[in-house]
Structure formats: structure tokens, C-alpha cells
């Protein structure tokens, strides 16, 4: 039992942090980047590829680095810390994760190789309009004629979809065959991009007889695999949220120390410093749960990962709501502005939560399992 990073993990953190600092030295840089097309920094993306960060989760055979969940979590935390708009979670962790889990050896070598090198952007299209966190969305239907598959329907939101070169699409198979996963070229779909509430990009993607290639063997029901990759993405999203919250607690603390009102700094007001203490408590609890969930992945048991995703999802939703709201309140008006990172961080937490599953969703799932165990075992 060990909650500390080893030297290599520390070095990875420093390297990623250093690289991100060149691109997002201050919030203004992030603000400029999201205001322009494509909504993230392609040069930075290239440097992440060079550092091996884009290929981190994938095996060396597929052009990746073969690192573990802790390393990917470190990257996500650092991205969250500076509110980096790069679609790492959507493209590498989620869409890339689906390819790595389900693709044929050829597909993996091709798609993951190009993803790792920064040539190819993927996005997972797995949510129906109005849908809510299911591995069996009904917005896109797959049809087959001979060997040729086509897709019809709409997926929305497709996070990172605006700039994606290819979509990894979750679709209903014909004749009650369950859920299939397909690769579709962006040119075969109609992509309507938009900015989300945190100014990162997503898209509504419409398929209209779009030519599609099954990932791996055609026609199998892959709902369980899709669910597992979503759970992994949730846990990595929690890492990213942790980075956001750490920045918010730090910024709030600094603000209370430096900002003067009524002739004194704000940390003179005990009602405010006690609330900062409560923010810290929430941060530490979230941190513990994020580390635990991330380590759970290594065990390789999909059920354990599903539970861990719900547990960390609930904790991070609660902590994120608390910290995100209090960070704004303790700052006051300045944090309502797009110029200042704290409020935008709250927007980012909001997007992560509603994208990956909110507190109510996770709590309902955990409630269903309450009598599966006598008490919850941490280790």
C-alpha cells in the first residue's frame, strides 16, 4: 500500500507541467487559445506527441508508450491545473481507449499509431441527444448490407468532435444485436461544432447513411466494453478535476492573503478562512479517492473499476461543486469574469461532471449496490 509517486512519475509530472507552462503560463494564454480555431493549441499537441504523452496509454506495438493508469492520471491532473483545452481526455483516453480495447491488431497499429504521433484526432460519439450516461445509447443505428456497414442518427455532445478526423461511434446493432462500435471518417458525417460552457469544443455529429468500419470483429454486443472504457475515462476525468480543484484552492488562498477590503487583507475575516479550510478538506478527500480509483484500474477487474468510477465520480462531483462555488464566492466579482481563471475552472468542473456523470447518477448506481456488501473495503 503506497500512495506516493515514484521518481519516474515525479519526473513525468515535472515534464508535463513544464511543457504546459510554456503554453499556458497564464490564464490569458488559455483565453486566447480557446477564442481561436481550433480551440486548442496544435503546436502544444505536437509537443505532447513528441514527449510520448499522446501515446502514453497504448502499447509499444501500437506506437504507444505502454504506461499505466497512474501516469495517465498525472497528465490529466496537470491538464486540469491550467484548464488546458486540449482534447486529451476525449481523444486519447476515451476514443483511443475504445480503439485499444476493441480494435483489431491492424486497426490499433494504424489508428493508435497516428493518434500517438499527433497526426490523427479521434473523438468518441457515444451520447444521444438528451441521453444520460448509458453504454447503450439509441441515437445512432447501424445497418449492414453484405459487409458494408452504415450508420444513421445523431450523437451529441461529442466532446472534442469539432476537430476530430475520425469518430469512434457507439451504435445500436440491427435486430436487437446490442451495441456495436464503429469507426467513421469525419468527412462521412455532418459535424456541427460548438463551444461548451468552459469554452472547450464539442460537436453535434449527424450520420446519414455514413460508411462505417466495425472496431474489431463485426456485430458483437460490446456494451460491457464500452461501459468499462467510459469508467476509465471517468476516473481520468476525476484526475483532471482534481487538478482544477487544486488550482482553485491555491488561488483562493492566495487571494485571501493578498486582497484588501476595509483596510485589511481578507484572511483577517475568520468566516472566510474557515470556509477555505472546508475547501481544503473537500480537496483532500477528493484527492484520496482519485488516487484510490486510479490505482484500482491496475487490478484489471471491470466490476471493481465500475464501482471505483462511481465512487470517485460521486466524491469529485460533490467536492467540485463545493470548491468551485466557494472559490467564486470567496473571490467575489472578479471570479465571475472570463478573464480570471477561477470562475472558468468552475465552468470546467461543471462540464466534466455533466459529460462524465453527475453526482445523482453515481449516487443512484451506488445506492443499488448498498446491500451487496457489509462494509466498504478500502484495501
Amino acid at each position: 500500500m503506497d500512495f506516493t509517486y515514484d521518481d519516474e512519475q515525479q519526473a513525468l509530472r515535472e515534464a508535463v507541467r513544464g511543457l504546459l507552462a510554456t503554453a499556458y503560463a497564464d490564464h490569458e494564454a488559455r483565453r486566447r487559445t480557446v477564442a481561436e480555431e481550433p480551440g486548442f493549441d496544435r503546436a502544444l499537441w505536437g509537443r505532447l506527441a513528441e514527449m510520448g504523452i499522446l501515446g502514453l496509454p497504448f502499447s509499444e506495438d501500437d506506437g504507444g508508450v505502454g504506461a499505466g493508469p497512474v501516469e495517465i492520471g498525472i497528465v490529466c491532473q496537470e491538464l486540469g491545473r491550467v484548464l488546458a483545452p486540449e482534447p486529451y481526455l476525449a481523444s486519447v483516453v476515451h476514443a483511443g481507449g475504445l480503439v485499444a480495447a476493441l480494435g483489431s491488431p491492424e486497426q490499433k497499429a494504424d489508428l493508435l499509431g497516428r493518434l500517438s504521433s499527433g497526426e490523427l484526432l479521434l473523438a468518441a460519439a457515444d451520447t444521444s441527444p438528451g441521453g444520460r450516461w448509458t453504454a447503450e445509447p439509441d441515437g445512432v443505428r447501424a445497418s449492414v448490407s453484405g459487409d458494408a456497414w452504415t450508420l444513421d442518427g445523431v450523437a451529441d455532445p461529442v466532446v472534442g468532435g469539432e476537430s476530430a478526423d475520425m469518430f469512434v461511434v457507439t451504435a445500436t446493432l440491427p435486430d436487437g444485436g446490442g451495441t456495436g462500435v464503429f469507426v467513421v471518417d469525419a468527412s462521412a458525417a455532418t459535424v456541427s461544432g460548438y463551444a461548451t460552457a468552459d469554452l472547450t469544443r464539442a460537436a453535434s455529429v449527424t450520420f446519414d447513411g455514413s460508411a462505417a468500419t466495425p472496431l474489431g470483429e463485426a456485430g458483437r454486443d460490446l456494451a460491457d466494453n464500452v461501459a468499462t472504457i467510459s469508467d476509465l475515462t471517468r476516473i481520468m476525468g476525476a484526475n483532471q478535476a482534481l487538478g482544477v480543484m487544486q488550482s482553485q484552492v491555491r488561488a483562493t488562498t492566495e487571494y485571501l492573503k493578498s486582497r484588501k477590503q476595509f483596510g485589511v487583507t481578507l484572511n483577517t475575516f475568520q468566516a472566510l478562512t474557515f470556509r477555505a479550510a472546508d475547501m481544503y478538506v473537500e480537496l483532500e478527500l477528493a484527492h484520496s479517492m482519485v488516487d484510490w480509483a486510479t490505482m484500482t484500474i491496475a487490478g484489471g477487474d471491470p466490476d471493481a473499476v465500475a464501482v471505483a468510477a462511481d465512487r470517485v465520480g460521486l466524491q469529485v462531483s460533490r467536492s467540485g461543486r463545493h470548491i468551485g462555488q466557494e472559490a467564486i464566492q470567496l473571490h467575489g466579482g472578479i471570479a465571475m469574469t472570463a478573464e480570471y481563471s477561477v470562475g472558468v475552472g468552475t465552468a470546467h468542473l461543471t462540464v466534466l461532471e455533466q459529460w462524465l456523470g453527475n453526482a445523482g447518477h453515481h449516487l443512484t448506481r451506488l445506492s443499488e449496490r448498498v446491500d451487496d456488501h457489509e462494509l466498504v473495503e478500502a484495501i
Partner: protein
Amino acid sequence: MQLELSPTDAEFRDRMREFFTSKVPQEIRDTVLEGRHLTRDQIVESQRTLNAEGLAVPDWPTEWGGQDWTDLQRHLWHEEMQRAGVPLPLAFNASMIGPVIAQFGTEEQKQRFLPDTASLDIWWSQGFSEPDAGSDLASLRTTAVRDGDDWVVNGQKTWTTLGQYGDWIFTLVRTDTEVKKQQGISMLLIDMTTPGVEVRPIELIDGGHEVNEVWFSDVRVPGDLLVGEPGQGWTIAKFLLGNERVGVAPVGATKRALATLKETAADQLQDPLVRARVAELENQLLALELTALRVVAHSAGGEPHPASSVLKLRGTELQQAVSELALDLAGPAALAARADDDSPQEGWARRTAPTYLNLRKASIYGGSNEIQRQIISRTILGL
């Protein structure tokens, strides 16, 4: 003690409800009820409709268009407007500068400004907050220096809500730097087309352009645009902010928002946890509304009841809580915040994240909730 409205008050309420739901254009009310942004023209049209019926500025002296209503009637008017989705009369005009001019202004100022203020022919902006002052208003640094009959104004205001629409701005400026800081403040009315006035937008986290910075560079203001006496600004500001707090709890609008949400997200109402959240919020809103009625019933002679801080505090908390519920019911659709109207996601769901983020301001602006707790603990509890 008695729950029913008197026949007179019941008739009054019916009359308000009838007027608001039949005379204020449906499209304007739908915009409010669905949580979309109003245009300047819609706000003006709505206020003129009210003003034509004498319903825009009931708090003012009757000679300037006010109504001789009871506190309860004012409350009913206010609630029915919110319930019907009628935009409230622009606060800067109706609740702030109007009453100030009526109370402290010269006869000339009253004649010149009050009718156009009631009808929104003049759109007023508020120039109080400054970047380094925040809740500590008395530390303001914008100066006005005498030059002949005029004042020359230099400095910067911020958080000027809807300043981009403003024709005139009422400002607190420092006219005397030698005295205690509260005593050196005066109120000036400034035509925003005057050379040297510049309005710069502040982008908020919800992407909206709702507040502004207003910069003053050697802005020349005729002396007859000072309200009251030089140095009386602090007194006037306290008068104005006292008015602002009355009826500040957006109970009717929040009730309306929750009712709308029950309809738009009806399928999720089968989830027992969602039902419980709705039931809890409905109960809290009822308790708040009843508290507003108790405050109304007790407020003597226009002085705000001290418990009005309770209304502001809890009212904004509940407003925020309903926006959180909406966000959670929207789920992934909430991501489509800035998608265009062709989006396959429902409009109400797309608006939830910006609304949630925007409403974080509710507990900051207009006397933060910390200030309200301070008022309660000091003024009411004597701590």
C-alpha cells in the same frame, strides 16, 4: 392572524395577474420564463407597457407616478410580475435613481429626469463599484474636481450592469479628499455620451455581456447634475442601497423556474431522488415566500425590516439551488451551451450551465451573502 387575502387585496392580485398576462407581450414573457436573454428593446417595451398603466414605479411618490399601495400590495405586484414572466422594471431606474432624485433632487432635476426615468426613455446605469473597492464602497477613488460651475471626473467604475445600454449613469465620486472617506463622497449624474466616458465590456464566465467597466477621462459634468449637497453621497448611497434590498428575494421567479423545470424534465421526475430534491426546494421556497409576507406585514413606514437580509440570503441560495437542479437534470445536454438553435439538444437544457454559472453572482452582487450575515448578526442579533 388570517391567511386569506382581504377581498380588496384579492381583487388587486387578480387585476395584476390579468394585466401582466394579457397586456405584456407573450414573446417577452416567454423569453423570461424560458431563461433566455432579453433585448434592450424588449425591456423598454415591457416597462413602457407597465408605466402606461401606472405599474412601473409604484414605490415613487404619487405625484411622480407612484401608487398609494400597501406593502402587501407592492409585494403582490412584485410576485405576480415574476410569476407571469414580466421583466421587473429596470432596477437602476425604478428602485435606485428614481427614488433618490425624488427624495434628494432639485425641482429641476425631478422635472427633467423623473418622467423619462419611469418610462425608460432614459436608461440609467449605476456607477458605484470600483476595481479596488468591492464590498468596501467607501474606499472609492474616482474623483470629481470643481472647475468653475462644472465638475471634472476621472476614474474607473466596474461591474456596471447593462452599462452598454445606458444613456445616463449615476455615480459616486470623491469630491473632497481632505475629510473622512465617507464624507468626501458626492453623487453626480453623468450623460454617457459626454466626451471622455468609455464603456468597455467585461466578459463573464457564462459568456454573456452583462457587466462593464466605465472609464472617465476628464469628463466635464455641469454643476446642476450633482444630487443633494457635495459630501452627501454616502448618505444618498445608503438610502439607495436600503431601497435595493427590499423585495430583493426573487421568490416568484424561482418558483416559476422550478415549476417550468418540473414540466420540461418531467420524465426524470420518476426518479425518487429527483422528486425529493424538488419537494425539498418547493418547501424551502414556500418558507421563504411566507417569510417575505411576514416581513411585508411588519415593515413599518418604508424602513426595510431587518429580516430582509434573510430574504436576500436565502433567496439567492434557493435561486442557485434551482439552477443546480436544472443543470443536473440536463445532464450531458448541458454541454451544448453555445450550440446554435439547430442543436438537437433541448433549449432549456442547453441554457442550464450558463444560467448556473451566471447565478453564482446572485450571492455576490447587491450586498454579498457575507454582508447579509454580517447585517443579521450585528443588527438583528446584536453580536
